[in-house]
């Protein structure tokens, strides 16, 4: 995969203008009410969820792309009402926190009446029982498919509705390169997955959904803290989700993101990035928890070794990297384990062992310049001019189009994300 030219991070409130404007629009502490609630949108949502074929851009999905942010915010309330009616059929007043940023201090109250209430009850009756979990999964897939397959088709919004949505800030070469609102379809998908888990706690499909969605983001170096927090709230000890958490913190600790965050420090703008040391600490904690749960998770061990090395604990790092190298047969992981091990051996002032590890990395990825440049550097140290020239020429040769997995290390963990999503789609009964 070529390195992405722009990477992104999703953060709650990134723009100075956002909290100011949002504060003006912030609901009062007293609960507000929606009178004259109508079920038409919820009915359409149920129909779309039932009709959509996962992974297809079909008529149902196209209809979902026409929903504006205002519609999606309404659906956020409507779907939760439906779930409440299914759980407590006699409830007649629904207080639900709306989907806006910053989070409001009080919920919105809805009291459906008359024909609207009857329609709501009818929908609840239809999906109550075994059908509810299926509907939630289907709903999650609808919103996921809009966001992944049809993002370019989604309805345009006016600025006012866009202002209270999460923000995606693009980062290029350590600098802010653009900003846009994040699709609320992701929030709707998350709502469905979370409730699907509540309905059937032993079903791992919601975990797989979170993994796929986090992976899809991380594949593009879009690090979405909202998804991550929600995922770990539901599955706090899941090794895969903890692994992706560790990867996110590790990525945010790199100079690429630290340099991006630097100008914001001490200002009211708040990208969700802590200091390098804090992010590395969080990454280490996450990888250690993964390995406690699953000691055979070689990729987590690899990353733990890398993080320990970056924290200056080179002997510990080398031990973890040796173990990771022994525990994996996947060439790209072997490459990284050898490469990082070489760095640690060099830091431990063992140049011969470093050379051995760099050679192993270079053998695993002959076109990769990174180990060759290091080999040239270490050859210079030995006075081996011939090797310096050979390795330097191979590393810098303009005639070669080099590929180096190192350039995409921050997204390595998500290399199977497309497959994860395919599996999630296939996990919905009735999927093609």
């Amino acid at each position: 995969m070529p390195p992405a030219s722009l990477r992104s991070i999703v953060a709650g409130l990134l723009l100075l203008a956002l909290p100011i404007q949002a504060a003006a629009q912030r609901p009062p502490a007293k609960t507000s009410s929606i009178r004259d609630w109508q079920p038409a949108l919820l009915e359409r949502w149920v129909a779309v969820a039932e009709q959509h074929r996962p992974g297809q851009i079909d008529t149902a999905l196209v209809e979902a792309t026409t929903w504006t942010r205002a519609d999606l915010r309404q659906l956020w309330l409507d779907v939760q009402m439906l779930l409440r009616v299914i759980a407590q059929p006699r409830e007649d007043r629904f207080e639900i926190m709306p989907l806006v940023l910053p989070p409001p201090r009080s919920p919105v109250a809805i009291e459906p009446r008359g024909e609207a209430r009857a329609t709501l009850d009818g929908l609840a009756k239809r999906v109550r029982g075994g059908g509810l979990q299926l509907l939630l999964k289907r709903g999650a897939i609808v919103h996921t498919d809009v966001a992944t397959l049809a993002a370019g088709m989604v309805a345009l919004d006016d600025e006012a509705t866009a202002m209270n949505a999460p923000v995606l800030m693009s980062v290029g070469d350590g600098r802010a390169a653009g900003i846009e609102s994040v699709s609320l379809h992701w929030d709707l998908g998350r709502l469905m997955a979370e409730h699907a888990h509540r309905v059937a706690p032993l079903d791992l499909w919601p975990r797989d959904w979170y993994r796929a969605v986090l992976g899809l983001g991380q594949q593009l170096e879009q690090f979405n803290s909202n998804h991550l927090r929600a995922a770990l709230r539901v599955f706090p000890d899941d090794p895969w989700l903890l692994f992706l958490k560790g990867c996110q913190h590790e990525a945010l600790s790199t100079p690429f993101f630290q340099e991006f965050a630097r100008p914001f420090r001490g200002t009211q703008l708040r990208p969700d990035i802590r200091s390098e040391g804090a992010e590395l600490g969080d990454a280490e904690d996450a990888f250690r928890r993964v390995l406690q749960a699953d000691p055979s998770f070689a990729e987590a061990r690899l990353r733990l070794g890398r993080v320990l090395g970056r924290r200056g604990r080179h002997a510990e790092a080398a031990a973890e990297l040796e173990a990771a190298l022994a525990a994996t047969t996947e060439p790209v992981l072997q490459y990284f384990a050898a490469l990082f091990l070489a760095v640690e051996r060099e830091a431990l002032d063992d140049p011969d062992a470093a050379v051995t590890a760099y050679i192993r990395a270079s053998d695993l990825a002959p076109a990769a310049p990174t180990p060759r440049l290091a080999l040239a550097r270490l050859a210079q140290r030995r006075g081996d001019r011939e090797t310096v020239l050979v390795q330097l020429d191979r590393a810098l040769s303009p005639g070669v189009d080099p590929q180096d997995a190192w350039w995409n290390y921050r997204a390595l963990q998500a290399r199977h994300a497309d497959r994860w999503l395919t599996e999630v789609r296939a996990g919905v009964p009735g999927a093609p």
């Binding site: 390195p3 030219s5 290029g172 070469d173 350590g174 600098r175 390169a177 790199t254 100079p255 690429f256 340099e259 630097r262 490469l339 760095v343 060099e346 830091a347 310049p369 990174t370 440049l373 290091a374 040239a376 550097r377 210079q380 140290r381 030995r382 006075g383 001019r385 310096v388 020239l389 330097l392 590393a395 810098l396 040769s397 303009p398 080099p402 180096d404 190192w406 350039w407």
Partner: protein, 282 residues
């Protein structure tokens, strides 16, 4: 007669340079590029006797080589990451071309560019037009592998031999190298060649300061979006005004780090030279 003499002297020095790689055990000879300034201006006309060089605290007998006798090898090392804007790129090209125009016959130049990868469109060559052409074709993209690029440039210059100047331009901190900065600082202590950096960023330039200091060069901060051309030309002028001293170490313990002290007899003069060099332990 001078061209013949120059060739003969240069030939002898090339041979000395090849034998004087500072990473070797049992160093045969050490070459030092020394800048002497007073009031910010280079001091000319000094003789070997005006210099006092101590290697591990032991005074050395130095020879002064005329700068005119040594061709330069200039490794132009340019940050072409995505943060370089179109106007900056145009200014960078102009600066590079101006520097190339300032080279003399017999000098060599090469071009190393870096984004997330380090590339060498033109290795050190006397065919300066090739470098000009490559410079005009350069286009920015990707992240900034500044540390790796610095290593590559120093290694290239060192492997080439001769008197090497690395002119390193960057507008941002490293966001893409695997190599830890301190490993490359150590490389700087082991290679021949001087690194000058032109910094057009607004972040932390510590790596560039440490790197250039280790080789006896310096950082010229032109500010964010500044024009690099005056800095490039200043570097070339300054480099040409440096004194080249050689000596065969005597009395200093061999192997490991050799701390150097260079002083001149001229009052009020400031001396800039590398603070030391590494040799392999015997």
């Amino acid at each position: 007669m001078r061209p013949t003499a120059a060739i003969a002297v240069a030939g002898a020095l090339w041979a000395a340079a090849a034998a004087a790689q500072t990473f070797r055990s049992g160093v045969d000879g050490v070459r030092l590029d020394v800048l002497v300034t007073a009031g910010g201006r280079p001091v000319a006309g000094l003789q070997a006797a005006d210099f006092e060089v101590r290697d591990q605290g032991v005074p050395q007998q130095v020879t002064l080589v005329s700068e005119a006798d040594l061709p330069l090898g200039v490794v132009l090392t340019l940050d072409l990451s995505a943060s370089v804007t179109a106007p900056q790129l145009a200014a960078l090209r102009r600066a590079g071309l101006a520097l190339l125009d300032g080279l003399a016959a017999g000098d060599t130049a090469g071009l190393i560019t870096f984004d997330h990868r380090v590339a060498e469109p033109v290795p050190l060559t006397t065919d300066i037009d090739r470098v000009r052409t490559a410079l005009r074709a350069a286009a920015p993209k990707g992240d900034t592998a500044l540390v790796d690029a610095a290593a590559a440039a120093m290694l290239r210059g060192d492997a080439q031999g001769g008197r090497t100047l690395v002119v390193l331009f960057s507008d941002g901190v490293d966001t893409a190298s695997l190599t830890p900065a301190d490993h490359v600082i150590e490389t700087a202590q082991r290679v021949n060649g001087i690194v000058y950096a032109v910094w057009a960023g607004d972040g932390d330039a510590r790596f560039l300061r440490d790197l250039t200091r280790a080789t006896g060069g310096r950082v010229i901060d032109i500010g964010k979006g500044g024009d690099p051309a005056p800095a490039f030309l200043e570097i070339l002028r300054e480099f040409r005004s440096r004194y080249v001293l050689t000596y065969t170490p005597s009395g200093a313990p061999d192997g490991g780090w050799h701390a150097l002290e260079v002083q001149v007899t001229r009052r009020g003069a400031r001396v800039d030279a590398r603070p030391g060099y590494f040799t392999a332990r015997p």
